[in-house]
Amino acid sequence: MSLTTSRVEPSIAGVGDYIELMKPRVMSLVVFTALVGLLVAPGRLHPVIGFVALLCIAVGAGAAGALNMWYDADIDGRMARTAARPIPAGRITPGEALAFGLTLAAFSVVLLGLLVNIVAAALLATTIAFYVLIYTMWLKRRTPQNIVIGGAAGALPPMIGWAATTGGLSIEPILLFLIIFFWTPPHFWALSLYRADDYARAGIPMLSVVAGPAETKWQILVYALILMPLGILPWILGYAGLLYGAVAAAAGAAFLLLALRLRGEQRGFAASKQVFAFSILYLFLVFAALLVDHMSPASFGRFAA
């Protein structure tokens, strides 16, 4: 990517463009999973400090998004899904996005370290660095395993939330990490099935481009198979109550059924779009159930026991 294409005339970037640079939809999922990690962790965190922690996590996620858009501006411009993003559309220069992303990254990590704790700040810094350096700059254009390994960045927020409350880590947040880690590949591969042309045009070696739809659908099924027992593991290990176990089992079974149906689909993309949409619902359901289960008097404190 080159910075020599910078515009010389004054910027026309609006506030909305900078917000778009922070990938607000991704950010909302990050904040939600971090919030659950923060609330189900043992111990009490003052609401104001909890808010600061979530704000820092949100801003850190936004920074990672901005840096991703800075680096990927060239390929974003070649994909229909991303061509209207602020940099390829010419509303923000790459230099502006880079400065914005670096500033937010430094600010969010330092603030989290100073006002909450160092472990949470270190995890946030790791998340941003992993997403930008490992996923965006290294893996994304080189291997079909890009989102498998890169998915670790998106899986870290509940651990950051947990660390914000406890100042440390344990097996419970690692379980939450694993759920998101194994959820990420089927989520993005379902998207890549009906956006394969886009990815191919941009030269991104997504599994659907490199190995074809049949192999991608098989891999989605494998990951859905792993995800189902993994989702109910917090209940099996006694960290969560029956409510959580029931929701996680039902959502996991539905995910599996959709993945099976996707594998049988011969033409069209209805099933892959369904898997993609349901995967978002799955993550929301599992984490919301964990939160509700934790808040309910019957299982109060179980996750933290």
Partner: protein, 60 residues
């Protein structure tokens, strides 16, 4: 009259003139930065109240 003053008289000011769209965008960005700074000031104030004098003493 000095040479530079003479030259300034002869050449009209060619400084950057913002279009209406650019000026509007800059104003919106300036307001957003001001709001963000204001929110930060309030946030730091509240955190100081919450944490007390040991605002920078935090668990590892």
């Amino acid at each position: 009259m000095t040479m530079s003053a003479l030259m300034n008289e002869q050449k009209p000011d060619r400084g950057i003139r913002l279009t209406e769209r650019q000026a509007r965008a800059r104003r919106a960005r300036s307001i957003a930065i001001a709001v963000a700074l204001g929110v930060l000031v309030i946030l730091f104030y509240i955190v100081t109240l919450v944490k007390g004098p040991a605002v920078l003493v935090r668990p590892l």
